[in-house]
Symmetry: C2
Subunit: 351 residues, 2 copies
């Protein structure tokens, strides 16, 4: 399919990522294509999760659903972080009502050392096709974001085999088999770099790396187990801006901002805007950090809280977003209140 | 039963809580009476959870099990934070293999306003009996810790009805019904104050308040929903030192240290000793913060990591502990390595 894409008419996201002046901050929502949307639930009733992920037309349609409703400034491709594990030959299952499962998690150093970097174009071609389709469908009205899970977060699932409160078995595997663990982390890192480059070539204008479980690590363990691979990925991706989202790793903001080439840093709602700005010396664009649960408050409260959030972060070097994915049972009108609050925000001198 | 207790021969805990010099920091472990101990599993096979909690002889026996094995410097009474909800008339169930359940969670303001402060001596007499029994059984070899859940954490369970990753329904109830929520939080606070005072009168020499879910709140929400009640409890408990453990609320360390009368502050493993000392201006005793998952590393690694932890916190104004409860599948020898590492730690000038 042609990669002769429509011109990007809405450049708020790219401007914010470069630190350029914008009339208002751009806005999108993690998991904006998700279960709170009735049109998503309709497709969910017809196709399995991996049918939706692996069929480019469906993935494109799902990605476009929130764009039609809310016109956010970015679309994030509908996919899953675990496709990278599938690409390296790991079976992943997902049954409705439970989280993802890896029926045969890695449990020995031998299994770990047997893992190899796959050809991502071959194994994950459907993601690239979905990105190209979506980039055309967007018609330049919103920037297109590709994404991947961070090596530590994928390692967690690969060893634990499912979600966990503490991923203690994954940590234990690391401490018991550090060399085998480093091999796994390196294979995931190389695969992720190739995968993100392929996503950008296929149409992604920005990529986000989700380290969903980095916050379970102590600062010392983060520096050893998670951070080197994030640095490696950010250094390797020169074709598009990278947004790093190391959930819960408040202690690492300073180091991430000066030791990686990330264009932006996602922060959660436990981090105040003031703390985030001081820790990053206002050197990096920040993204976040509305408490997803607060979308269950009234639209009035949402509007006021969003305006206050922007006032505190400032409209420059800032991307309005949630601090984590939108929850499934948020009323659509409340999601709309969030998007509208950003769009109708005005600098305080105009208030 | 007589409250003419044996003399406390081991005063390391009380000295550390007062900030006095100690030859080594005291040590105990959250959930040290728990599922990693075979002798606990034996009783677990014979009695239901609430039989174990509500039978003073059993609660005493379970509390004493880790004392016999490891001789820690404190015993924490075997009980559960949810007994306070039971005391205010809420049914709580616990089936093996799943977390606690509240079959009829509070879902309307009417139900909230109907809640009243109960007579804790009447409703929770078995806890006080277990404390008195245990204080005698300890023979002064270890300090006895009583405990309660913090109001916000109990509110979470009361509204959500079970454990949750985000307690979004509990938060939503607060935002939708702030007055009813404040009534609930106030009822829990008054009940908790009476309960902790009763525990101290019955033999507890220290009390710990567990705010297990405070880290789910943004700093602003923490200040509104959690903190005022923690301050109220700490101000009211003058009979014994209070240890506050607001899990995950790294952003609140400074305010907690100067705005409450807590004697100590529990910190988790995402908070470095250096950050905690600076944030609290070395004004308060710190407790923690070993990653519970790290007890799955080899005993050698455990020993080295524990020594490094003590070197970083310093031996004064410090209580060695985990950053959260011990995990069920930790080998007993690894738990022993943790206790021994603290006991055989030496100041660096002696190394």
């Amino acid at each position: 399919m042609s990669t002769n894409f429509p011109i990007l008419k809405n450049d708020l996201m790219l401007k914010a990522l470069k630190g350029e002046d914008v009339p208002r901050p751009p806005v999108w929502m993690m998991r904006q294509a998700g279960r709170y949307l009735p049109e998503y639930m309709e497709l969910r009733g017809k196709y399995t999760f991996f049918e939706r992920v692996e069929t480019p037309d469906l993935a494109c349609e799902i990605t476009m659903q929130p764009i039609r409703r809310f016109s956010p400034d970015a679309a994030i491709i509908f996919s899953d972080i675990l496709v990278v594990l599938q690409a390296i030959g790991i079976e992943v299952t997902l049954n409705p009502g439970e989280g993802p499962r890896i029926p045969n998690p890695v449990s020995t150093p031998e299994q770990a050392f047997a893992l190899r970097v796959p050809d991502v174009h071959d194994r994950l071609h459907y993601v690239m096709e979905a990105l190209t389709l979506t980039r055309h469908a967007l018609q330049g009205e919103a920037a297109l974001i590709g994404f991947a899970g961070a090596p530590w977060t994928l390692f967690c699932y690969l060893i634990e085999g499912k979600g966990s409160k503490d991923f203690s078995r994954a940590k234990a595997f690391y401490w018991q088999h550090p060399e085998a663990s480093k091999h796994i982390l390196s294979v995931i890192t190389q695969t992720t770099i190739a995968y993100l480059k392929a996503q950008i070539a296929a149409g992604a204008q920005i990529v986000q790396v989700f380290d969903s479980w980095s916050g379970l690590l102590s600062p010392e363990d983060f520096n050893e187990i998670a951070f080197p691979y994030l640095i490696e990925i950010c250094n390797a991706i020169t074709e598009a801006p990278v947004i790093l989202y190391p959930k819960g790793s408040w202690y690492a903001l300073e180091a991430i901002s000066y030791r990686t080439k990330a264009a932006a840093l996602g922060v959660d709602w436990c981090i105040t805007p003031e703390y985030a700005r001081v820790a990053t010396r206002n050197d990096i664009t920040l993204q976040g950090n509305f408490d997803p649960s607060k979308l269950l408050a009234s639209p009035d409260v949402i509007t006021k809280s969003v305006h206050r959030m922007i006032d505190r972060f400032g409209s420059k070097k800032y991307i309005a977003n949630l601090g984590h994915g939108i929850l499934p049972f948020v009323p659509v009108d409340h999601a709309r209140a969030f998007f509208d609050a950003v769009k109708f925000w005005e600098p305080s001198e105009n208030k």
